[in-house]
């Protein structure tokens, strides 16, 4: 099953590679991984999307907690949460495709952030499946380049992850 783990860790050199190394050394799967410092510069927040049975997720959580740099780990799947991914997608936009592409971007609530005579670059955020849906909805021959971040997640409502 797909799980989204949220981790607070010390913002120190090598912390990311300890986490990534743990996954590869123990044969766990990483679907995506995003990390950046938080409002507290000494802490980074990392979101990892992974898959596995409940037992494996339990082991992953325990092993993560064992790392000296890891301050806290939660499994966002345990309650309501929000997930967002960012995609930058460059598409060919000429002739009749130009207007169509603009309409599609609007339908998906994307923003065109760069325009040339022949191309649009669209910024789009949302859960991964929405971004997938956009890619599916447009003519694949028109896609020039796609860049996606991994998912970032946060608990809904009062639920927070903080030191």
């Amino acid at each position: 099953m797909r799980h989204i783990l949220s981790i607070l860790l010390e913002n120190e050199a090598g912390a990311l590679s300890r986490v990534a190394g743990l996954f590869s050394a123990r044969n766990y799967n990483i679907e995506s991984l995003t990390v950046a410092p938080t409002e507290d510069k000494t802490l980074s927040r990392m979101t990892i999307v992974t898959t596995g049975s409940d037992d494996i997720i339990e082991q992953i959580t325990k092993q993560l907690n064992k790392l000296i740099d890891v301050v806290k780990v939660i499994d966002l799947n345990e309650s309501d949460h929000i997930e967002r991914e960012l995609m930058l997608i460059k598409v060919r936009a000429t002739g009749k495709d130009r207007e169509e592409m603009k309409r599609m971007a609007e339908i998906f609530r994307g923003h065109i952030i760069d325009v040339t005579e022949k191309t649009y670059t669209i910024e789009m955020t949302g859960p991964g499946h929405k971004l997938d849906a956009f890619i599916k909805a447009i003519d694949p021959a028109l896609i020039l380049e796609t860049v996606r971040t991994g998912a970032s997640g946060i608990g809904r409502g009062e639920r927070i992850l903080k030191v």
Binding site: L9, K66, I68, V70
Partner: protein, 586 residues
């Protein structure tokens, strides 16, 4: 007054009460070696290979309550240390390894003798540091010792660039350390402990299964108390030897791949299993599917939550320091108004399993059996020696026939299975316990992996006794080739062996060759009496001897290959695969 980084380091080590540093100098650590020369708080032992430095520090720690310390230079010095670090990591040994690094401006530029030590050791340390700023050096060393020794112990690497050792700064050593991300558990959950007490009192077929955690956690007294109190049979892992006296009637011996018949049968048939500081390793329970026979209830006490439910499902998990948790559990049992279930029939069954003596062997008059040498060593030393071992058949014979009455006397590479461990380990133990008898049980193949340390032993007058069980084969490899590869002895025969007696003499020690069973005891007595000399005893042993009992890979614990005298025994049918779903745990 300002001190150099190197001086700060030596002062930190002194503050930590370090007695010995095992190491080898080189370019990146010359400043540190100069500071060592100018201090008198601790001694340095110059080994002949960095791997040996780490093993010696490791064994120094295993046999005492101290953190072992090793010091190596950058590049090849650092990589040579990695096997030792991984060995300590697998067995959770508290250790600090200091490695030199090239000057900070040169890091990452493929400088001479540069290697990414932090990167290379990441998967086999509890934690590691690269000291980038001299202002952090003292605090980093404090953290390193704290992390190494607390919680589930383990090795910590501190990589120090040469220019940091040369810089100057004010020295102040923090009295204590606070780390928000690292707060190891101590006390077990009272509710869980109560539940465990209940289960144990209700058990009709209980078993206490103990591992290295009991040795590391100094919980042997508590183990003895709870086993006495409830009359529990006790089995131990390879790492748990001595955590409960091997010569005690309630001790049914080691379990697992080369465990006794009675231990494995008891393990498989018990109804309540109390696992303490043991992690259900594959060499202990083989595959989980075969191990679990229903209605077995498992109570698992461990300081490391990730060790619980890693290989088998657990009914009552208790995270905490084994010594504290056991003390609380003993209290909970005493306070319970529940009466203990009758376990006399269980003991009758265990005695029936014990009766055929699965460790029996025949010592004829012609060829020395390796088991016989260990058995005689046990008698000659009265069980009081510290015994280190290498890895292979001799290690299993040592574990099976030397019935350790005390913890911390058995020093071996359990998790990683490192050949070359025994001799440097014996060195470390002897330095920690100068008045004790220290014996290294080894084989002709293992000893050659770090035999150069005979030279270190000479230089520092370390009179250990080397017991070489020489069968001219990689014994365990040969055994597996007999069992699984149709006797095709591919590359397991050691030809062109050195004359070990002459070799020992060349290093300035006493060499002995023993090839008759009748001479074994006399030779051992003579060697043990030479208190101030290293004696290398080369026992020419039976080339065919195999380790029994044996559970083959993938089989259930009760599906043992038994020694010849037990082959006609009626053994219980293999336990059926359990209904509980263990699909994803193995």
């Amino acid at each position: 007054m300002e001190l150099t980084g190197a001086e700060i380091l030596t002062r930190c080590l002194a503050e930590e009460g370090v007695e010995y540093v095992f190491g080898y100098p080189g370019g990146a650590v010359l400043e540190i070696y100069d500071a060592i020369f100018r201090q008198d708080k601790f001694r340095h032992v110059l080994v002949r290979h960095e791997q040996a430095a780490v093993h010696a520090a490791d064994a120094y720690s295993r046999s005492s309550d101290k953190v072992g310390v090793a010091l190596v230079t950058s590049g090849p010095g650092a990589t040579n240390a990695v096997t030792g670090i991984a060995t300590a990591y697998m067995d959770s040994i508290p250790m600090v390894v200091i490695s030199g690094q090239v000057n900070r401006p040169a890091i990452g530029l493929d400088a001479f003798q540069e290697v990414d030590m932090v990167g290379i050791t990441r998967p086999c340390v509890k934690h590691n540091f690269l000291v980038k700023d001299i202002s952090q050096l003292a605090e980093t060393i404090k953290k390193a010792f704290y992390i190494a020794a607390s919680g589930r112990p383990g090795p910590v690497v501190v990589d120090i660039p040469k220019d940091v050792t040369q810089q100057k700064a004010k020295f102040s050593y923090p009295a204590s350390i606070q780390m928000r991300a690292y707060t190891p558990a101590q006390k077990g959950h009272p509710g869980q402990i109560k539940k465990a007490a209940q289960l144990l009192l209700d058990a009709k077929r209980p078993l206490l299964y103990i591992g290295g955690g009991v040795v590391l956690g100094n919980a042997a007294d508590e183990v003895r108390e709870i086993s006495r109190m409830l009359g529990l049979p006790v089995t131990n892992t390879l790492m748990g030897l001595g955590a409960h006296p091997g010569n005690d009637q309630q001790n049914i011996g080691m379990l697992g791949m080369h465990g006794t018949f009675e231990a494995n049968m008891t393990m498989q048939n018990c109804d309540v299993l109390l696992a303490v500081g043991a992690r259900f390793d594959d060499r202990v329970i083989s595959v989980p599917q075969h191990f679990l026979s229903s209605p077995k209830k498992i109570i698992h006490i461990d300081i490391d939550p990730s060790s619980i439910a890693k290989r088998v499902k657990v009914d009552v998990p208790i995270v905490g320091h084994v010594k504290d948790v056991l003390a609380d559990l003993i209290g909970a049992i005493q306070q319970s108004d529940h009466k203990q279930a009758d376990i006399t029939n269980w003991w009758k069954q265990i005695e029936a399993w014990r009766a055929p003596n699965s460790l029996h062997f025949d010592q004829g008059s012609d060829i020395i059996m390796p088991q016989f040498v260990v058995q005689k060593l046990y008698e000659v030393t009265g069980g009081n020696a510290f015994v280190t071992s290498d890895v292979g058949q001799h290690q299993m014979f040592a574990a099976q026939y030397y019935r350790f009455p005390e913890p911390k006397r058995w020093i071996n590479s359990g998790g990683l299975g490192t050949m070359g461990f025994g001799l440097p380990a014996a060195m470390g133990v002897k330095l920690a316990h100068p008045d004790a008898d220290v014996c290294c049980i080894t084989g002709e193949a293992s000893i050659q992996m770090n035999i150069q340390e005979l030279s270190t032993c000479k230089q520092y007058h370390v009179p250990v006794k080397v017991i070489n069980l020489n069968n001219r084969y990689l014994g365990m490899v040969r055994q597996w080739q007999e069992f699984f590869y149709g006797n095709r002895y591919s590359e397991s025969y050691m030809d062109a062996l050195p004359d070990f007696v002459k070799l020992a003499e060349a290093y300035g020690h006493v060499g002995m060759r023993i090839d008759k069973p009748a001479d074994v005891e006399g030779a051992l007595r003579e060697a043990m009496a030479l208190k101030d000399r290293l004696v290398f005893m080369d026992f020419l042993t039976d080339q065919q001897a195999n380790v029994f009992p044996m559970v083959q890979n993938g089989k259930g614990l009760t599906q043992m290959d038994l020694p010849p005298h037990m082959r006609n025994l009626q053994i219980a049918p293999p336990t059926p695969v359990n209904e509980r779903d263990y699909g994803n745990l193995c």
